[in-house]
Amino acid sequence: MYQILKQIARSGIVTEPAPQPDEALRASAQRLGEAILGHFGRALAIRHVDAGSCNGCELEIHAMNSPFTNPEQLGIKFVASPRHADLLLVTGPVSRNMETALRRTWDATPDPKLVVAIGDCGCTGGIFGESYASCGRVSNVIPVDVAVPGCPPTPEAILQGILTALSGKGR
């Protein structure tokens, strides 16, 4: 126990200030109104759904939970079930084999809900595009509020995307 405490003290606090929301990331047609956002209050529960990524974006979502970005300081936490979630963080081009699972996850998430698509593939289908096996971008399957480009986007960019989705007008 002493060694653990010593290591914690030696490491100090490495958490950095959170990024500001970026209006440019907002998928304009799908803004959520102030009234809906009001329901969330301050805390935000996120359900991550990998709909077919190369797993690069997952690495950065993990990294976003590192002590440097530490989203829990902002009241943001990841939950195990879509039924507990306010926001779906979706990666990948949506593979045809994940299409149904993604729709069902979206259906299982209570309203009001937000969807943030992560990565070039989530935004446009990326290098995988659309094919017999890929539905392409996330918004081809479920409505998307904010899309964060990058291959993969950095933890700061992902957190910024989440905050952008949250910061509807009047919030």
Binding site: D50, C54, G56, N65, S66, R96, N97, S131, Y132
Partner: protein, 514 residues
């Protein structure tokens, strides 16, 4: 020529790794594989190809690893009825590869083999085969119901727990069907293929240059291993010699990838046994390394740096010094954390004797990579086939025999230290000169092999070209071999230990779903 281990005619294949091609009649495939197995050759990969546009039928390809090198065995198959004797009775790991081959190409093993589908869910109709040349890659078929015959387990008190494809944590999608009594796992059956996004079909629409970017995205956590294997295959097929400095830099990048993945998983392994301290410590270290990667190489995960012909970016001596200084910090900190993990009774209680894969089972099922080394299998491509740049730095083979989570944890610690040593040596011996050679023009039909010991295990890229474009490319992830072992590793364990056991292997879904 003939190999001393194999009594058939083989042709040496140009390229960095020792590799040979051989042809066999389908009827003799079983016999040749049985023979190879008796001489302790292991199965690296099995895949198929459509040769109808080359005036033939189909072909089945099997890659076997012998001490002399890799043997790429090809059996031509009939155009109208492409059948072959299955080899899953000899190499159990072939089971899913054969089924994927049947789904994608309609090449089927003879009766007696497992004929259940694998990669086909409901996205394309039964009887159509995406990797056949006449299949339209852009065709959108209506989703069909996906009925998969799981093996039912019956008995008093037995019940099933279906998990996934969407999991509780931030991990890739796949379905796990547990049959349990109380908390104890009687049986686990995996159903994968959810991430199938047509990677192999996509490769066939690409030039050799274009394919590099896609290769780096077969499994993002192994992007360097795949990009290198791809580059090696292209360089072999075209007769391009990458500069020595580029090889040294590739070695540095591959070891950085190994360190980053091991650090991340060591953090999660702590987290999974209620030691979040470990998660925060290791992810702090990993993040500092990723940031340095971004500064020195322009990408946190080193994507698109290894390219056919060399590497895309050089490193100055001063930058290399920064890297070494950072790695020295990581080494010191990891040593402190290793002592804490080792002495933490709660963590060790969960690690020891959990998810055990004994050496005999590992050998029989063909386990590969660091998981195999944790189960007493002393194999590592960097050691077994020492080619530049590893030849000059003499990698140490690390192995354990207990095969449990504790062994895999311990092995990852040791591999982090060894990779840091290797990077130091590679930096010291980095030859001067260019980092990229122009790609030579391939002949009308060429073939190449890329074979790299990635952090998870061996990544194979088998390439055939037609007029400078990709005719067929099979990227093979070590997860093909290791997923079935996870089903065995959880026997008799309790359900709450599954995430821990799973993370101790950390297999790729994307890499094996293709």
């Amino acid at each position: 020529m003939k190999l001393k281990e194999l009594d058939i005619e083989v042709e040496p294949l140009a390229g960095a790794m020792p590799a040979f091609r051989a042809a066999t009649a389908p009827a003799e495939l079983s016999e040749v594989c049985g023979w190879a197995h008796a001489r302790r050759a292991r199965l690296v990969a099995l895949w198929g190809s459509d040769e109808t546009r080359r005036g033939a039928g189909f072909a089945l390809h099997v890659a076997l690893a012998f001490p002399s090198g890799l043997v790429w065995l090809t059996a031509p198959l009939d155009r109208t009825s492409p059948r072959y004797p299955g080899i899953a009775d000899i190499y159990p790991a072939a089971n899913r590869m054969q089924r994927a081959c049947a789904d994608l190409l309609g090449i089927v093993p003879e009766e007696g083999a497992d004929q259940r589908k694998w990669l086909r869910h409901g996205a394309w109709p039964e009887g159509t085969f995406p990797l056949r040349k006449d299949f339209d890659a852009d065709a959108r078929h209506a989703q069909r119901p996906d009925r998969y015959p799981f093996v039912p387990v019956a008995g008093e008190g037995v019940h099933e727990i279906p998990v996934g494809p969407v999991h509780a944590g931030t991990i890739e999608p796949g379905h796990f069907r547990f049959s349990v009594v109380g908390e104890k796992i009687l049986r686990l059956e995996e159903r994968l293929g959810y991430k199938h996004k047509g990677i192999e079909k996509l490769f066939e629409s690409m030039t050799l240059e274009e394919g590099a970017r896609l290769a780096g995205r077969v499994s993002g956590d192994s992007t360097v291993a795949y990009a290198w294997a791809y580059a090696m295959a292209v360089e072999g097929a075209t007769g391009t010699e990458p500069p020595r400095r580029a090889l040294g830099l590739r070695g540095i990048l591959l070891e950085l990838e190994r360190i980053a993945n091991h650090l991340g998983d060591l953090g999660y392994l702590g987290n999974d046994v209620s030691l979040p301290f470990g998660f925060f410590q290791f992810w702090r270290l990993k993040e500092t390394l990723l940031r340095l990667n971004a500064r020195l190489f322009g990408h946190r995960y080193l994507m698109d740096l290894v390219v056919p012909g060399g590497v895309a970016r050089d490193v100055q001596r001063a930058e290399a010094e920064q890297l070494l200084a950072q790695l020295e910090t990581v080494r010191r900190e990891v040593a402190v954390l290793q002592a804490i993990y080792d002495e933490h009774a709660g963590a060790q209680d969960r690690f020891i004797m959990t998810g055990q894969v004994l050496p005999e089972l590992a050998e029989r099922m063909g386990l590969v990579g660091f998981a195999a080394r944790a189960s007493g299998i002393a194999r590592d491509l960097r050691v077994d086939y020492p080619v530049p740049p590893y030849q000059q730095v003499d990698p140490r083979l690390i192995s354990h025999t207990r095969g449990d989570v504790a062994a895999r944890v311990s092995l990852r610690f040791e591999e982090v230290f060894e990779s840091i040593r290797l990077i130091q040596a590679l930096v010291e011996e980095l030859p001067p000169g260019a980092v990229r050679a122009p790609l030579a023009r391939p002949g009308p039909r060429a073939a190449g092999i890329g074979w790299i010991e990635g952090w998870r295990g061996e990544v194979l890229v088998a390439l055939e070209t037609d007029a400078g474009r990709i005719h067929r490319l099979h990227p093979h992830d070590p997860s093909w071999q290791n997923w079935p072992l996870l089903e065995h590793a959880v026997h008799g364990n309790i359900v709450p230990d599954f995430p821990l056991i799973n993370k101790s292997f950390n297999l790729s879904y994307s890499g094996a779903d293709l």
